[in-house]
């Protein structure tokens, strides 16, 4: 009929991935009063879903679409537009390395090489043990302390190649030393 075309009409169940929990849906609904439209809860919903699952699966997109009363394509559209949402599983620790001009001038390429060497993964990949995922980011807005490396929510500043080893080995490298707000977090598992 045509040259090799990818079938988008059907999707194998295993590719749909996990869905979001009822508690997460309820959390998403708690954002409704903030906005005059349900659709506006899209980004909070995706953050919360990603917090629960580690990434935004196709099933999660469907679930969110249902909660927000939107076609699932509208959710996929948004997910794919923003770089923070992953559509394949992420590791426990998300390494985000700034590659913008300042950080590059100050040596972020060396950090990248070290991370890729030590973990054996490239951009947008996850270690086989599921501990780390790595991605590069445009400016993290901490240029005064470049080069910067974020581990989940924690920003590591003025990172040297030696620091990379230390950060990767430190189990608490993603711990914040300020009080957190859990507004955008998925509800804790029962």
């Amino acid at each position: 009929m045509s040259w090799n075309a990818i079938d988008r009409k059907t999707v194998p169940a295993e590719e749909m991935g996990p869905g979001i929990s009822e508690a997460t849906k309820e959390k998403i609904r708690s954002f409704f009063p903030r906005y005059p439209s349900k659709q506006a809860c899209m980004l909070p919903a995706l953050h919360i879903a990603q917090d629960e699952l580690g990434y935004v699966s196709l099933q999660a997109m469907r679930d969110i679409a249902q909660v927000l009363e939107l076609p699932p394509a509208a959710v996929m559209d948004v997910v794919s537009f923003y770089t923070h949402f992953w559509t394949h599983p992420r590791g426990e620790k998300m390494l985000m390395l700034c590659r913008s001009l300042t950080c590059e001038l100050l040596g972020s390429e060396k950090l990248r090489a070290r991370i890729e060497e030590k973990l054996g993964i490239g951009d947008h990949e996850t270690t086989p043990d599921g501990k780390f995922s790595f991605m590069t980011e445009e400016c993290l807005a901490a240029c005064d302390h470049g080069p910067c490396l974020m581990v989940n929510e924690k920003m590591h500043k003025c990172v040297s190649v030696e620091d990379v080893d230390r950060i990767l080995d430190d189990p608490a490298s993603d711990r914040l030393d300020i009080p957190r707000s859990d507004t955008y977090d998925a509800p804790p598992k029962a």
């Binding site: 075309a5 988008r8 076609p71 394509a73 959710v75």
Partner: protein
Amino acid sequence: MPKITIDGKTVECRENIPVLRAALEAGFEVPHYCYHPGLSVVASCRLCLMQMKMPHPKTKELDWAPKLFPSCQTPVKDGMEVKFDSQLVHNNTNHVMEYYLINHPLDCPVCDKAGECYLQDYTEDYGPATSRMVEEKNKNPKKDIGSQTLLYQDRCVLCTRCVRFTQEVAGTSELTVINRGNRGEIDVFPGEPLENPLQANVVDICPVGALLDKNFLFQQRVWLLKPTKSVSPADARGSTVYIDVNDDRVWRIRPRFNEKVNEWWISDESRFSWQHVHSPDRLNIPMIREESALRPTRWPVVQEQIRAQLNTVASDGGSRVAIVLSPMMSCEEAWLLASFVRQSAPQATFVIGYVPVEGTDQTFPKGFVISAEKCPNRRGVETVIEQAGGPSASWDEFLTKAGGGEYRFALVTGGYPKAWIDSTLADTLRKIETVVLHDVWASALDDHLWLQLPSATWVEREGSFMNADGLVQPFDRALKPLDGVVGDGQFYYELAGHQGLFRSRKVRELMAAELPTFGEVFVPREEPEYAH
């Protein structure tokens, strides 16, 4: 009506339309991709930029502004002055066209759109002859996105017309843009394909060869196709269409703009309503019962036989004669048949034929309607019957009476896109002594028929249909009838005693004397030459 000046020429234009539309309507060729009059304006293709006179920020004198404005987004205002024919504008168009081709595969030789592709046309008219891009091109996957459509992402210019169509006209929002920047693609959510009753319209509005009709894939080069103006028989809305024909074969049906009915769109039913035209199962020889079997005969014999038979059974005025006028008939055919029958059988019963109905009317967000009534001309035939006077009956009444053996003779017309006489119906009609069936298909009633006449499909006929709103719209003949078949119009024309060639326009003039409704047909406005 506001007056605006385009390239030094002052033109009058409609209120509240964008300058782009006004220019197209005034006959200017302005390249554009993302703008479509039936969809919202996004002004993203940046091809239709124009120069405009603006008050100078300091002196307040009107002068050409240094920047260019998107003409699709600028509404017309009385007295405004714009320019499309200028170096600045041409430079912009030239550059944009170069951008469009940097990752385009240039596979026109195997592209169905070639010949009606606006990437080809605009590149030839406005674009550079060569590309300065020496890097390798990106290759995108081809995607099977729905039962009728394929997406060749390589060729897409991301005008988002298709996305807006599914959101705004169909209201189903299956299509969307994914990713960002030059990684952008059109896609559906996996497992939620493009499936709506208007889906194939995205193929028409795609200005390039990205969205393709599976039924038309690799079938024909479009420059070989000859379009004929027609009206869709798929439902009672009477959507106007083009029938594209080559080599005595229909290859596709496209919407024809109609401001009163379907605007730029047609339903998939209308689009694919031609498939039966080329069915090998169609009847193509008139048959007459001789010695208990149907045997081939000739058309002139058929006419003589019908006249003779009618004279016999209608000696009492025809009270036991029924003439079933199918809602698939054109107004002209119905009128010719009715007026012929009324001469010899003033008491014959005229029956409005079987009206297929499926579900209820479907209305879409921007007002497009798919009628539940799957025939084009119920109202036209009813009007003819009403005007003809004398006895008439509904289909159900006819069946009851026929089942009660009240009729001795019936002429039944069909013409439906598929065989419609099931065994129950056949059993009822068997109660009529002499049955003439003028239809496309063989049926369970064949063993009882006296005359079996092959009918032409609407593609092979000309005439007019009256739609559900009472609008009479003419359609032309796209193909000559199947070998052995005489067009229904021609047959009734001769049966009614006329000589020469059946021309629907001529017949409508005759009809208009009795039925002023048919004196004037509605022909939709033509879309401007350069609009698409």
